[in-house]
Symmetry: none
Amino acid sequence: MPYQSSDKTRQKKDTKRTAMMQASVRVFAEKGYHAATIRDIVQEADVAVGTFYFYFPDKETLFVHLYEETALFLLQAIQQGIQSRATIPHQITGGLQAYINIAVYEPAIVQLLLVGGVGTVPSLAVKRATFRENLIMSWQRPLDTALDNAHILPQNTRRTAEALAGAFDEVVLNLLNAPDPESEAEAAVQDLIDFSLRAVAYTGL
Amino acid sequence: MPYQSSDKTRQKKDTKRTAMMQASVRVFAEKGYHAATIRDIVQEADVAVGTFYFYFPDKETLFVHLYEETALFLLQAIQQGIQSRATIPHQITGGLQAYINIAVYEPAIVQLLLVGGVGTVPSLAVKRATFRENLIMSWQRPLDTALDNAHILPQNTRRTAEALAGAFDEVVLNLLNAPDPESEAEAAVQDLIDFSLRAVAYTGL
Amino acid sequence: MPYQSSDKTRQKKDTKRTAMMQASVRVFAEKGYHAATIRDIVQEADVAVGTFYFYFPDKETLFVHLYEETALFLLQAIQQGIQSRATIPHQITGGLQAYINIAVYEPAIVQLLLVGGVGTVPSLAVKRATFRENLIMSWQRPLDTALDNAHILPQNTRRTAEALAGAFDEVVLNLLNAPDPESEAEAAVQDLIDFSLRAVAYTGL
Amino acid sequence: MPYQSSDKTRQKKDTKRTAMMQASVRVFAEKGYHAATIRDIVQEADVAVGTFYFYFPDKETLFVHLYEETALFLLQAIQQGIQSRATIPHQITGGLQAYINIAVYEPAIVQLLLVGGVGTVPSLAVKRATFRENLIMSWQRPLDTALDNAHILPQNTRRTAEALAGAFDEVVLNLLNAPDPESEAEAAVQDLIDFSLRAVAYTGL
DNA sequence: TATGAATGAGAATTCATTCAT
DNA sequence: TATGAATGAATTCTCATTCAT
């Protein structure tokens, strides 16, 4: 394996690289793309500026990469929460729990996705659109299935999915601004489940 | 009469000032606070850099002022749409129509509020929080009244209002990204009305 | 007199022009050339910016002109105080009284000359050098005469004159920084007379 | 040993920092605070603009710092020249030699103090006042002692000290404008010693 | 790999000056 | 004459990026 550095070296490298990415998420989440400086990031990660450019080509590329990766992580968690269940109530519950879980324990990730990457670099616009689209689709798919099975009343599931996605985001952001998000998380999940089941006109109630 | 601050002169001044503010809204809405440069703004308004500073003290002050003014305008329109009606279905209809009307005919205003002012200057954070709070309260008030009158089932109206506000925003943003927002507006309003009445557990259906 | 505007007009013009020059002296004296803005000057004179450029070609020209005029005024006052007397003690007394009188009652003039025009525009450098040279010469001339008449002991009168000029300036600046310059002026004059007569080795003491 | 803040590196940094400070002194001395631009300074130091801001927080801070440091240096030199001697003639000689020595070999320092910092930034005003006060006090102290010992006749020593300080400054500035200051320095010192001993009414002559 | 000094393009802001009215 | 809106060159300062060590 000549092209590969030793485990020890790789581990150290990965350690530093990971530290910088986590620092980046925090800094971008807190300040947004433009207000965050490379200096902010390297100070948070406790490395030198030059080190940043050893691991990442530039600020924009890192940010877009971070956004993609983070978006994928959140989407997969939500989809996992949805897909492991069979009926709409459980699916919504599963997806929401996954979402709010991440929001509470990794707030920087959610903040990066929801506020850190708004109105920034052109190259991000398409990534952001894709993320929103995937997020909406994640909620639309169970709705379509439920509609087929007459578990919900007829409706424009696309629009319902958009509305649910927006509703969840807003509640999550308000939750994160609360003094103790963790303690309120469970109630928020329950309120949103109730809200959603009513909103999708769930016939099983 | 060597010089006269005549109506004509004053009117011209106001005209130019207004033009610059509108240009600013467009640029801020499109690029967000940080990415928008003074040069962008003055080019959009077709004036020189110095002219900007003749009318406005600095970029930040203008932005915050713009945000406040715009937020007030949107809030009043929505509240006007709500308060001129008596029952929840009509109130939601009125508020939504006002919101989507502005979104379609003054998209920059909505974009400035929803995306332009995210993660920007500290002095804006409180304005933004106030705006979101007022927006949520605008929806919560009719819910509380309806709950008192048993027009909706018992629920955490605060959370419902948050969810509705977020739902509306997301649908509006998706609408604005559509190829022809105007043609879809009516359907979007109707879908959201239906969504909302289900979501708030309106008992009159 | 076709080329001449009416008395009334000219008077008004002179009034305004004079007001601006006096305002300029005050502003330049207080802030120095660079820190003083045209806006400062016209506000102090209560006219519009355009008016400034009707009377004066530009900031630098006005400043240099002001400096020259002011320097001439001070020099003539000092020289008048010197030349109207016959012997060194009276000449020093006369010159000093004139200087300190102006310093106390027209502090802006002295401040403009001593501090307002330091290290500023190249075109002023020569004017300033000329002023200092003339000021020194004003004191050297009576010294030379006194030396010829053996009223003072042999010395390098040029150097003595430099030293006296510097001594007077410093005392004047300290006087102007005093809480009540006027009340201390007389004592300062007397101290400086004594100092000077000793310093020039006046033989008549 | 990927990187080492070795002596060599640190020395280089100090070297560059020192070079920039010296360049700053020269530029400020020549043009004064306002007329001196960052561009002037970095060109004189042959570095890029950013380098200036790597070493110094901003123009004003550097200038004030430079002024303080320079004032302290000059004051200590003069006081050292004074305090190492016992009687007024030797004290004046010592202080003057120190002053003129610096003026001739470090003209920028003296010019910065005497002309570069006049009528500039508010934060400098107090530093300048302190410097003048300390300078005057440096001359007043030996005068007070001499007066106690009856080595000079009764007089207002504060005023005499002011006058001497001003006299020295003026002669020094004239000396610096001479074609060959160094060659005239000795004579200037001697003339000023004579002038001063007469001016303070030294009784030992 | 890692460092941080050095760079310079670009941003915000100021202000002398012009000119249509 | 007088006005003040409009201009844009010049200035200060920031920050992403590079590179010698």
